[in-house]
């Protein structure tokens, strides 16, 4: 008998007391919790997103389509990055004014090479107001996971209000589980020393979020 059969056999014997006609999954799991917490206008939801992002030390900016290229240029200049990673599907207009050399993500790039790039600019899949979270799903405007991981400075553009939801349940509804997802709530952090939160470990230590609307 292989281990698969052995384990499944043990499970079945262990569950001998469970009646065959037990309630179905839908009946067994009551979902009386809220779809979102509190009632907010669209504007208030976006404000909450900004507030919670800031609370976890992300830097929040607001811009319209016209202002965006200049804002991105300014943020990259302030950071002093010589090079910036750009995902393949990033709208070219966003980077129209940016000075640093654009490094396009190719499979041939090694992690060491990406480590020498100062910044990365991406879009996102969805942003969650209640938790101050942005979610990347590897779409062309976000690129491979590694490009938002290795550079130390991440600029993420969130389309408002379309890409903003209030809550975790609403975000999951929008996301495709077959894609690799990265949920980001502020820059990397740790609570491993005396259970006190410190920002900045392995992931990007600077996270800037631009609310584009």
């Amino acid at each position: 008998m292989n281990s698969r059969e052995r384990i499944l056999g043990r499970v079945r014997r262990a569950l001998a007391d469970v009646p065959a006609d037990e309630r179905s999954y839908e009946e067994a799991v009551p979902r009386h919790y809220l779809r979102e917490h509190g009632e907010r206008t669209t504007e208030e939801t976006i404000d909450l997103l900004a507030e919670n992002l800031t609370d976890y030390r992300a830097v929040v900016h607001r811009a319209d389509a016209e202002e965006l290229p200049l804002l991105i240029m300014r943020l990259l200049a302030e950071r002093g990055s010589q090079e910036v990673m750009v995902p393949p599907g990033l709208p070219p207009s966003w980077m129209a004014a940016a000075d640093p050399v654009r490094i396009h993500d190719r499979a041939a790039l090694t992690p060491d090479r990406i480590d020498r790039v100062g910044s990365v600019v991406t879009g996102c899949a969805v942003a969650i107001a209640e938790t101050g979270t942005i979610v990347l799903d590897g779409s062309p405007d976000q690129g491979r996971r590694r490009i938002t991981l290795v550079p130390d400075h991440h600029i993420c553009v969130v389309g408002v209000p379309d890409q903003v939801v209030a809550s975790v349940p609403q975000a999951l509804e929008r996301l495709d589980p077959t894609r690799p997802l990265t949920w980001i709530s502020g820059p990397s952090a740790t609570s491993d020393i005396e259970l006190e939160r410190v920002e900045g470990v392995h992931g990007p230590r600077a996270l800037e979020v631009i609310l584009l609307g």
Partner: protein, 491 residues
């Protein structure tokens, strides 16, 4: 479990030593009290916490009660998404599988995401024995690994260390493992985090094999979820060519939607955050993004034995948040090492004796490592009634009885060393069944009250070493009641 725990003294002895260590007491008190207040605040933000907790409990219970079906579904969906599923009945088998998979890549080192399952099976030691070096990349795990120490907390394995001790470990030990700590390293947490970043960076960038656990596995989609803070998880899950995840079979949830419960309750319960900095989900492999090869090792190692226990199986609902440790007054004073297991604290006291059995002295002492105060149950985000399971396991220790070990039905014999207690309990039960006998005992105590010492010799010292004894009254209540006809004749 990890060989480093073999030969642990029983809990009371280890705890006595911990209580006598003022540095340890101070470190634990500071850390647990810091997180307690924060957790309460993070939980209070959600008006529907009780409903989320109930849904979490029900999702986990339902999954456990149909675990065979969900395991098969998970296997099918992971395989369809390009992953390879392996089954490991015990720690040895899991270690053999992982070792073989690493060797097949031709590599001799792996980077690891913090994982309770791989600690439980002692994977690092097993790999080391085969010439493969495993680098822990979580900050606290790094502290433990560099310090040749043992973990003492589920979430923060180095909770027993303060910043000064961590500085010293980094300064002295990092060089032997790779990039040395910066000269003049201070003990500020930000500097220590920076030192860890620099030390591990080169390892992440060259790593070809990553090893992880998972917080959740979604049966319907084959998706695995890792919840973390530092980004070391993202590094290990994204940069290597091969990813090997070792996950306990109880980590399944049926549907994608179920994550909406746990991604709200887990971060608030563990680090007291609205959301942890990073959560990664992956489903098999993705073309040109992340590992090309993905192996999932499903681990039993005693879980099916726990599943066979109708009272004890609720411990398998655990999502490893460690809220119960942080709130436990016994953990706060005894520290994690006293539990002799990678699972310390209240959840460890109910999980370890079920995974390992109750035959060793330390395992048999764990169900008693609690005053049954119930604080753990109150904070548990999946409502594990830990006091109920503790009492149930005490019964298994002193009375023995039917149980399942390694998949086989056995009848356990009562543990040794409880004979005197058992006799006393039986005698007391007899006396309480005979009020006349009880009364005779009470009167004897009352009449000899002037002879009662404030302290006791022998085993009684366990009480009177630190606490004075009460003086028995002149007469027990029942005598007063009869003498005064329920107080009517009193004064």
């Amino acid at each position: 479990m990890s060989s480093t725990f073999v030969g642990m003294p029983a809990f009371p002895e280890a705890a006595r030593n911990a209580v006598a260590d003022p540095t340890l007491r101070g470190n634990l008190r500071h850390a647990t009290h810091t997180i307690r207040a924060k957790r309460a605040g993070a939980v209070a933000e959600l008006s529907d916490w009780a409903e989320l907790r109930e849904a979490g409990r029900r999702i986990k219970d339902h999954t456990l009660r149909h675990l065979d079906r969900y395991l098969e579904q998970l296997e099918a969906s992971v395989t369809a998404a390009g992953g390879t599923v392996h089954w490991a009945a015990d720690a040895d088998e899991a270690n053999r599988i992982v070792t073989r998979l690493v060797k097949e890549t031709g590599e001799s080192e792996v980077v690891k995401v913090k994982s309770m399952a791989t600690q439980e099976i002692g994977l690092n030691e097993a790999l080391e024995a085969e010439g493969i070096r495993a680098y822990e990349t979580d900050l606290a795990e790094l502290i433990v690994q560099l310090g040749k120490d043992r973990p003492s907390h589920i979430l923060v394995p180095a909770i027993h260390r303060n910043r000064g001790e961590i500085r010293d470990i980094f300064a002295h030990e990092m060089a032997a493992w790779g990039r040395p700590a910066p000269a003049n390293l201070t003990d500020t947490p930000a500097d220590l985090a920076e030192a860890a970043r620099l030390h591990l960076r080169e390892k992440f960038l060259r790593a070809r094999v990553g090893v992880s656990g998972a917080n959740f596995m979604v049966a319907e989609t084959g998706t695995l979820v890792v919840v973390e803070s530092e980004g070391n998880g993202r590094m290990c899950l994204t940069l290597p060519r091969t990813l090997i995840s070792v996950v306990g079979i109880e980590k399944i949830v049926p549907t994608w939607r179920d994550l909406e419960v746990f991604l709200q309750t887990l971060p608030r319960s563990s680090t007291a955050e609205r959301m942890n900095p990073y959560t990664s989900t992956w489903t098999g492999t993705t073309d040109e993004d992340g590992p090309r090869t993905f192996h999932l090792v499903l681990l039993d190692n005693g879980r099916t034995d726990a599943l066979a226990d109708q009272v004890g199986r609720q411990a398998l609902r655990c999502i490893r948040c460690s809220a119960c440790l942080n709130v436990c007054p016994v953990y706060e004073r005894a520290g994690g090492h006293a539990y002799g297991s990678v699972y310390p604290g209240p959840i460890g006291a109910v999980l370890t004796p079920q995974l390992r059995g109750t035959t060793s002295e330390i395992d048999a002492s764990l169900p008693y490592a609690s005053s049954l105060c119930g604080a753990c149950y109150e904070v548990c985000p999946v409502a594990i009634d830990i006091p109920e399971v503790l009492v149930h396991l005490r019964e298994r220790v002193v009375q023995g009885g039917p149980a399942v070990r390694q998949g086989n039905k056995v009848v356990l014999r009562p543990a040794k060393g409880h004979a005197a207690e058992r006799a006393a309990m039986r005698a007391a039960a007899w006396a309480f069944g005979h009020p006349g006998a009880l009364r005779a005992g009470q009167r004897l105590a009352s009449r000899s009250r002037r002879l009662h010492p404030r302290t006791l010799p022998g085993p009684g010292r366990a009480w009177s070493g630190t606490r004075d004894l009460p003086t028995p009254p002149a007469e027990p209540f029942r005598d007063w009641w009869q003498r005064t006809r329920g107080g009517k004749d009193a004064k």
